[in-house]
Every structure is written in structure tokens, then in C-alpha cells.
Amino acid sequence: MSKRSLRGSVAIAGIGETPYYKHGQAPDSEFKLALTAILNAAKDAGIDPRDIDGFASYSNDRSDPSRIAAALGTKELRFSNMQWGGGGGGGAAAVGNAAAAVATGMADCVVVFRALAQGQFARFGQGPTTPTITGDLAMQAPYGLMSPGQRYAMKCMRFMKDHGVRQEALRAISLASYHHAQFNPRAVMHGRPLDAETYDNSRWIVEPWRLFDCCMENDGAAALIVMPADRAKDLPHKPSYLLGVAAGSDHRCAAPSHNAPNYASSSFASVAPHLYDMAEVKPGDVDVLQSYENFTGGVLMSLVEHGFFEPEASNDFLVPENLMAPGGKLPLNTSGGNLAECYMHGLELQLEAVRQLRGDSTRQVASVDVSMVIAGPMVTPVSSLILGSEATL
């Protein structure tokens, strides 16, 4: 039996987004934001939006595919898919699900989208205000452990202690995102540069996260179009071929009350080997990386678990000059990412990975053939993917 793989069989043919806003500032409804991003992605791909026959998203996106299909006049709906799990962990998995549908003939043209208007719905960074609480949250919220930042800080604290990682390593990740955002007019933090001193003097949110270690909360939407590789070749843009994708998490990652056996982890330990296996690339082949910053420490552990460096080398590797495009050893979050472009649950990172392959980034890395995205770390399930140019096929 031949190896089962998606490698090279589908491509991202179009990308689109709305303007990105601070939370609560989107002038449009969340559903309208979703429609706008999808139309923009279809236009970018040079296709009739009515020809989209599948929808894939993650994190319980509220914009229901059947409603979108009705609103857009979709000719026929063949695939409607939700990747289970909260946070941004499903971002790459949603592309993988779309790719699997397209590669196996279940659909011909699937849009992956994410729309968020936190001003119109609950914000992520607030605790529950109900008078009582049950289940696993009852073991946490009464002790003041409620927000995502609080939920994941202890993972990173343990990792930093085990491997002697200094705060400056987290700072470098934040500085890289903010630096790249200064070149990107789409970025919410465009015109708001960050320096080391400002980072060091910023308030703690929850140790080891300072203010600038934490993602923003934003409104907007993003979308990308997944099509068969041979059809994508005839469209206006150079296709971004999917080389590999993997999703999931380590053994008993969701064991309640913080009892995951591999606790000080981004949840990628078991996932990353599958990614590289399908993509047939090694960490050293990656030209540019977008790695989801819910919190900088998640990026730290994601990079380690994807094999970019050993944990003990964290302080040496994670210095600003290594992470800055265009010349750094591993240009990271070249649009500004979740920290400084927009927290579109990481789908904006996938759009940026495509731009890097097309040569269209506002902080372009020279001659990109392998462009990688790591979706939301520390949650479960997580996911990551690798895109390649035609030369990698």
C-alpha cells in the first residue's frame, strides 16, 4: 500500500480578510465580516464565490455554513466542517480538513474561514461571572484561575524552570511580532512600535506573561480557498501547495485539573513528527514560520517541540535578530501575528504564510519555498501545517 498523504494534492488559491479592528470596534456584524472575508478570498482566487462548495472552520465559529451558503447563493453545499476544540488550536486542522475533502473528491472548492466580533459576543480574556460553577472549572475558578492566560502560565513557568529559559527569550518573540507589524498597514499595532525597555517596564498580567506577551482581542474575519492543485495552477496567483498537516495532542493532554502527563508542553510533542513526515521536510528546510502567539511562551514551546532547537538552547536561539525578517535565521510572525497584526484566531497567520510564498509580504523573506504555520499551542487539539512552492513538489 502506498503512503497515505495529502502532500501536493491541494493548494491554497486565494486569501482574503476584512480590515482588522480592536475588540468591540468592528462596524459590521460578525456574520457580515465572515461574508466579506470569504468574498475577498474568492476574488483573490479569481473564482465565482457561488462555486465554493464547502466550508471549514474551528473554535465553534458562530457563522453557520448553511446560512452562509444561502446568503451567498452557493450552487450546492457539499462539505461543512467544524474542527472540535477551543482557542486557535484548530487553525491548521481546518485547512487539513478542507484539504482532505478536496483531495478525496468530497468537494471541489472549500473555504476555511474564521470570524470574530468579540464586542458583539463574550470576550476571551474574562472569567465566568456565574454565581456557581461545576466540573473541571470548579477546581480552578474559585482559586482565581479563569482566563486563558492564567490557564497556560503554569505550563510555561514549569518549562522555563526545567530548562533555565529567561524572560528575554519571551521578550524576543514579542519584539519580532511588533517589529514586523510596523511594516504592515493591516496591523492593529502598525505605528505602535515596541522596544525592550518598554517590554521590561510593562505590567505583569500573570507571571511569566507581561502585557506584551499576550495576544490582542480583535474583531474581523479572514478566509482562504482550498482547491485541487491542478485547478489552482490555472488561477491568477502562484499556488501555495499543502505539503503536510497534522493535528491532535499528546497522551491524555486534556486530563482534568492540569494532570496532562506531559504538562510543560505546547501539546505538539506527538503532532510535529506527523507533520514533518507528511511534508517530507525537516525543520532546517523551513524558510519562514508563523507561530501562533496566544502567549509568547506557547511559541517558545511550539518551536522546541517542532524541533527548531533544543530546550536548553532557548536563550541562545530566541534573540530578536534571529527572528526578524528578512535576514534572521528563522523569520517569525512576519505580519505581526496575534500580538500585533490581529488576533483572528491565527487564521491571519495562514494568510501571511501564503503571502510569503507568493512574495507579497510586507516583510518579505527572500526566496521562500517552505512556509510553515503552527496554530494555537497549549490547547488540545493543536495543529500545524507546511506550505510549499511548486519547486518543493
Binding site: G135, R158, V206, P256
Partner: protein, 145 residues
């Protein structure tokens, strides 16, 4: 004792299926109850309906000694709940229990919120009753030994 955190945070109650009720009932008596598989003796925490090791549904509730080690910790500064507004920093600890195969429990570390928190330090459980709450409940806090 006065509670470590201000009043007004969500009060813990068992789920409608009652899974964690023996734990919360135990805290009212000053006992730390955790699950253990009657068949393969695996310690299980948090509460679950099945043993992840042998798939037995025959799980026992066992009292364990409130002695542990700090596995990880965080100092929270930014309040995300109205009851914590203007309260100031507080410490959350993740404590492993060597007497129960190092299962981990979450609580607050009593004492100075600015104290150093060494990972690996020994701690003991302190029961923090909230008798005036409706329904009343008891939290399990931790203190350096």
C-alpha cells in the same frame, strides 16, 4: 480563617451527574478525597467515570494525606473577574501529591503574595470553609511546610 481571595468568585458545586460530589463533600469534612481504580489501583484525578489505565468503571473514592510538592505556579496580577478588581496579586499553585502517584491539584499558596515560590517545595493542605455561601463549600488551599 478569612478566605485567601475576596468573596464573589463562582462557588464550586458538583455537576448534575454528581461526578465530583464525593470530592466536594469530603472537603466539608476536612478530608481530601480522590479516585482510585479498584481493579488496577491507578490513581485518577480530576474525577472521571472510567479508569484510563484498565477501563474499569469500578472507581473508589479514597482519602489521601494533604501533603504535596509545588509542581508549578503563577502570580496573577491582572484581574479577570469583578470580585478581584483592586485586590492585587495572588498566587495559584499546581501541587503534586507523592502519596497518590503525583496526581496534581490546583489551589492558592497561602501567605505573602509576593513570596518566592520554589518549584519542588513541600506544602500541606489547608481547608478553607465558606460556610455562609449558599450552598456552603470548602476550598483546599496550600501552605509551605
Amino acid at each position: 480563617m478569612s478566605p485567601y481571595l475576596p468573596k464573589g468568585l463562582p462557588a464550586p458545586t458538583p455537576e448534575s451527574d454528581g461526578l465530583s460530589a464525593p470530592y466536594w463533600d469530603g472537603t466539608r469534612r476536612g478530608e481530601l478525597m480522590v479516585q482510585r481504580c479498584r481493579d488496577c489501583k491507578t490513581w485518577i484525578w480530576g474525577p472521571e467515570w472510567i479508569c484510563h489505565q484498565c477501563h474499569s468503571f469500578d472507581l473508589d473514592w479514597t482519602a489521601v494525606e494533604g501533603k504535596g510538592r509545588i509542581y508549578s505556579w503563577e502570580r496573577v496580577w491582572h484581574p479577570v473577574h469583578p470580585a478581584l478588581k483592586d485586590h492585587g496579586p495572588y498566587i495559584v499553585v499546581l501541587v503534586e501529591l507523592p502519596g497518590a502517584d503525583n496526581i496534581r491539584m490546583i489551589g492558592n499558596l497561602l501567605g505573602d503574595p509576593m513570596q518566592d515560590v520554589p518549584i519542588g517545595a513541600e506544602v500541606e493542605a489547608i481547608f478553607e470553609p465558606h460556610d455562609e455561601a449558599d450552598p456552603p463549600y470548602t476550598l483546599v488551599q496550600w501552605r509551605r511546610v
